[in-house]
């Protein structure tokens, strides 16, 4: 059985890794510090899936999530990877 990739499931929104060079401009655009970003656990299945592509991801990297929104069409959300909560 081929391995299942959560990112390909229709109800999982797009997850992108923000390159380290772009992090500063993203944070500048959002006008937040990294600590204030919403978080995503490193054990989250989507992070595991992203690691397949980008190699090991460390806490502190920023993930861009693009979802469909009933109010705004497409909406960009950002999360910072943190050590797992559980």
């Amino acid at each position: 059985m081929s391995k299942f990739n959560v990112l390909e499931h229709e109800i999982v929104p797009e997850h992108h890794l923000v390159p380290v060079e772009e992090e500063e401009s993203v944070l500048g655009k959002l006008n937040v510090t990294k600590d204030d970003l919403p978080k995503i656990g490193i054990n989250d299945p989507t992070i595991k899936a992203l690691e397949e592509i980008h190699g090991k991801l460390e806490p502190g990297r920023i993930i861009k999530i693009v979802r469909k929104s009933p109010t705004a069409g497409y909406y960009e959300y950002y999360r910072v990877i943190v050590k797992s909560v559980i």
Binding site: D35, D36, S69, T71, A72, Y75, Y78, V85, I86
Partner: protein
């Protein structure tokens, strides 16, 4: 992060245990007598009401601090327990320590290597930054591992499994371990091992979880009350403490004079019971301690826990002054921004007025009036209740001292004057489910004893007048008055943040009235028209129609009087909502399919729920958007008045004869109902012979049910259609249903045609007796009548079995509502607690109190739904229509 408006931030909270020594040290007296007062009513020395623990009677002085009643804060005492007892709050901790430590040497049952490794792991975790859940999980894992081991790695002693026999007994191999033994074991646990149990060795020792000394709370915590009869009634806690001392004493005596072990153990258990219930009288597994009257005692945990507990009832929520509550009733001649207040309430509720050079003369005049002034013809006038001096002292104004006091006031004084017309107050109905449950109104003082308001405000408050009560709060500061006026006033709340449309509008009879006034544009005689129009303010009468030399006025022209100039709308009315091809079957003129308003003149169409009702209210919506809240509220006020003016003059009523349908209709309904019964019989027969073809994904039984349900549903719809063919728009009930004022056509079909299939949980009725719903039917009868089909109409009346089935169906509705409200209420409470301190900042970002982002843009699009057009940013089509009309 923004720390500017944070005065203090909690860095950490430390929990510790009281040691027996500490309890003795903070105690002012050792209590040894289980009595309270002697025969003269004087506190017994060393009793539970000893003067060392504080005073509650005036005249006495505290034996500890010498303070009088309000000066002494109260002091603790203590009870020396004859034998140690388990503290019910630490059962879990005690269990885990007994499990994971060695019974002989007291060390945690881990090897030295393990201890070292885990110690490093735990000490590496910073308690202020690490998620407490992670700490918890780690400790749990370690303790579990130690508990698994039966041989101690340190002294090789074997520890049998300890079983907790709830709530407070511990057993080892079936034999009870006494609290004394438990205490000895806990004493053996070395300080250095405490880390693994989550205990800070600097602030607690595990054996303190076994009580040897019990603190006695100050008398101020458990005051006794004196009834009018002179009888004293003690607080529940005192009662419990009496029990504890009494049993402790008996236990000590029995132990000292060498009573049999059995008796001692019984007393010990009893002491344990009393102390357990002293802490928590709802401990699972033991009967709650009761008062002589049979009422369960309210002990320590009960004081704090739940909705009636200290936190939710006294700290999160408090009783307030300057508020009042009364029954509500309707008053269509008040504006939607007003509230009618009974005089008696207006005299009691006050507004503080700070005296300055502009108002001093006026306020002097008001003070002179005293507390109960009236005009010469007996009308209400506001008086003054209190004066507050600049030093904060209050002077109660009476009719005797009014004259003198009016001369005493000066700049800097505050005068608490009674309510007067135009004051702004907050008005609220519980449950306060959304922000429109609490709105600001301006005051009108009325005679009578109820609060009154315009009927259009019923929807946001979800109020009716079958006995509902509402609360009213008088605003006490100038800032809050301004805020209330600008953002909380009813007219500012017309638009709901839930769906971006108006939530305030005409209801029930008002819709009916406007429907009658505009449907097919009736002609009103001059007298009728003048009467109707006398209820509203208007510039000049519309152009009359002259017929036979008499003046007549069109209903739509009269309605147009209350429409603001410059309003352009076109929409389909509720009446014509389902019509296709721009042709409405209920309108004589096809042009009336659409309601057309051009420059504030109603040209075509019928005004009904869609135009002015709450939730839809297109006219209200457009007026609010184009001309603002003031214009919208004026329109709604006028709608109420006009509707009442017209309908009360014209008359409107319905009765049973409005549901009379001709014989042939009845027999046709009979016919189709018989057809359906036949069909159901055939289906059942097919089912029994196994010939019924199952629907995809369903069993044969399910298929039969589905088929029968659709058949019975069909026949009800059919009969409804037949009935409504004979009930046209001249029928009052139909007018109400078609205009959206009240009820649906379905309800009319039930009255005139047939009630139809009753259901419970979406299926036909099937419970009750063995294999049948009622003993009137054969077992396993799957026929229509046996399973809750009602062929009668409400008008014809239901036969006994039908009536019974109808009651079953009706009961389900009631139960559903009861269950739903309690469940959604609790869910809402949790949501509010989770969201209460989120805020939207200037950049429309949603963040919590520490500045962590929740949404980068509020609602992802940054749009306030209140200002949106039913969720959309802007309705381009309407803007175009408003600007250019139909030709685009």
């Amino acid at each position: 992060m923004n720390f500017n408006n944070v005065s203090k931030r909690i860095e950490k909270i430390k929990f510790a245990l009281l040691s027996p020594d500490e309890i003795r040290k903070m105690s002012q007296i050792r209590v040894i007598t289980p009595d309270t007062y002697d025969d003269d009513g004087y506190p017994i020395e060393r009793g539970l009401m000893d003067l060392h623990m504080g005073v509650i009677e005036p005249g006495l002085k505290c034996a500890t601090c010498g303070g009088k009643v309000d000066e002494c804060p109260g002091h603790f005492g203590h009870i020396e327990l004859a034998m140690p007892v388990v503290h019910i709050g630490f059962i879990k901790e005690i269990k885990s320590m007994l499990d994971s430590s060695c019974k002989e040497c007291g060390r945690i049952k881990l090897t030295d290597d393990e201890i070292n490794n885990y110690r490093i792991q735990i000490e590496a975790m910073d308690f202020s930054t690490t998620d407490p859940e992670i700490i918890d999980m780690t400790l749990k894992k370690i303790l579990e591992m130690a508990a698994q081991r039966s041989i101690c790695p340190h002294c090789n002693a074997e520890s049998p499994k300890v079983i907790l026999d709830k709530p407070t007994t511990f057993r080892e191999g079936g034999i009870k371990i006494t609290p004394k033994e438990i205490r000895e074991r806990l004493e053996r646990i070395p300080d250095d091992d405490l880390l693994f149990f989550g205990i800070d060795k600097a602030s607690a020792r595990p054996e303190w979880m076994i009580l040897t000394v019990l603190p006695v709370p100050p008398i101020d915590v458990r005051p006794s009350i004196t009834l009018e009869t002179g009888e004293r009634s003690e607080d529940d806690l005192t009662h419990k403490l009496v029990d504890i001392i009494r049993i402790s004493q008996r236990l000590r005596e029995s132990r000292d004079n060498g009573s049999p072990q059995l008796i001692i153990e019984d007393l010990w258990d009893l002491l344990q019971y009393h102390i357990t219930t002293y802490f928590d009288n709802q401990t699972a597994g033991i009967p709650p301690a009761r008062h002589r009257s049979g009422r369960a005692l309210k002990t320590l945990v009960q004081r704090l826990k739940g909705k009636e507990g200290r936190f939710r009832a006294n700290l999160s929520g408090k009783r307030v002054n300057f508020s009042s509550r009364s029954v509500i009733s309707p008053e269509p001649f008040l504006s939607m921004n007003e509230v009618g207040i009974p005089e008696i309430a207006a005299r009691e509720l006050t507004v503080p007025v700070l005296i300055n050079s502009f108002n001093i003369d006026k306020m002097k005049e008001w003070i002179k009036r005293g507390t109960d002034p009236r005009t010469e013809d007996g009308k209400y006038l506001a008086g003054v209740n209190y004066l507050i001096r600049p030093d904060g002292r209050r002077i109660k104004l009476t009719d005797q001292n009014a004259e003198i006091n009016s001369e005493r006031i000066d700049l800097g004084w505050t005068v608490e004057r009674q309510m007067t017309e135009g004051d702004i107050v907050l008005f609220n109905r519980q449950p306060s489910l959304h922000r429109m449950s609490m709105m600001a109104h301006t005051v009108r003082v009325l005679s009578g004893m109820t609060f009154r308001f315009n009927l259009s405000d019923c929807t946001p408050y979800n109020a009716d007048f079958d006995g509902d009560e509402m609360n009213l709060h008088v605003i006490q500061s100038e800032e809050s008055r301004a805020e209330a006026r600008i953002i909380m006033k009813v007219q500012e709340q017309i638009m709901s943040p839930r769906f971006g449309g108006p939530i305030i509008g005409a209801i029930h009879d008002h819709i009916t009235s406007l429907f009658l006034l505009t449907h097919n544009n009736p002609l009103l005689s001059e007298d009728d028209a003048i009467h109707t129009v006398s209820y509203i303010e208007f510039d000049k009468l519309p152009e009359p129609v002259i017929k036979d030399g008499k003046k007549y006025y069109h209903g739509r022209d009269i309605f147009s009087l209350i429409l603001p100039k410059g309003l352009n709308v076109k929409f389909k009315s509720h009446l014509c909502a389902g019509s296709k091809d721009d042709k409405c079957e209920y309108e004589n003129d096809p042009a009336d399919t659409y309601v057309v308003i051009t420059d504030g003149k109603l040209l075509h169409g019928t005004i009904d729920d869609e135009a002015v009702g709450p939730f839809s209210g297109i006219i209200v919506d457009k007026i609010f958007r184009k001309m603002g809240p003031q214009a919208a509220s004026k329109f709604i006020d006028n709608v109420t008045r006009l509707a009442v003016g017209y309908l009360s003059h014209r008359g409107f009523s319905t009765g049973i004869k409005d549901y009379d349908i001709p014989k042939e209709a009845i027999s046709r309904i009979q016919e189709i109902s018989n057809e359906t019964l036949d069909k159901i019989e055939k289906l059942v027969a097919a089912f029994r012979s196994g010939q019924l073809q199952p629907l995809p994904g369903r069993s044969i039984e399910d298929t039969l049910e589905v088929e029968i349900l659709s058949a019975t549903g069909g026949v009800r719809d059919e009969s409804g259609k037949i009935a409504s063919q004979y009930l046209g728009l001249n029928d009052p009930s139909v007018i109400m249903a078609r205009s959206g004022a009240r009820a649906k056509m379905l309800n009319i079909a039930e009255v005139a045609g047939m009630v139809g299939q009753q259901s419970v949980r979406g299926g036909r009725l099937n419970r009750g007796y063995a294999n049948r719903t009622l003993p009137h039917f054969k077992e396993n009868d799957l026929g229509a009548y046996a399973r809750g089909f009602i062929k009668s109409s409400y008008r014809a009346g239901l036969n006994p079995t039908e009536y019974f089935f109808h009651s079953i169906g009706g009961r389900e509705g009631l139960v559903d509502i009861a269950v739903r409200t309690s469940r959604s209420g609790y869910m809402q409470r949790r949501l509010i607690n989770a969201f209460e301190d989120l805020k939207v900042d200037e950049k429309r970002r949603v963040e919590d109190t520490i500045g962590s982002v929740v949404q980068f843009k509020y609602g992802e699009d940054g749009i306030d739904p209140t200002r949106s057009d039913e969720g959309k940013t802007v309705d381009v089509d309407y803007v175009a229509y408003d600007e250019f009309g139909d030709e685009q």
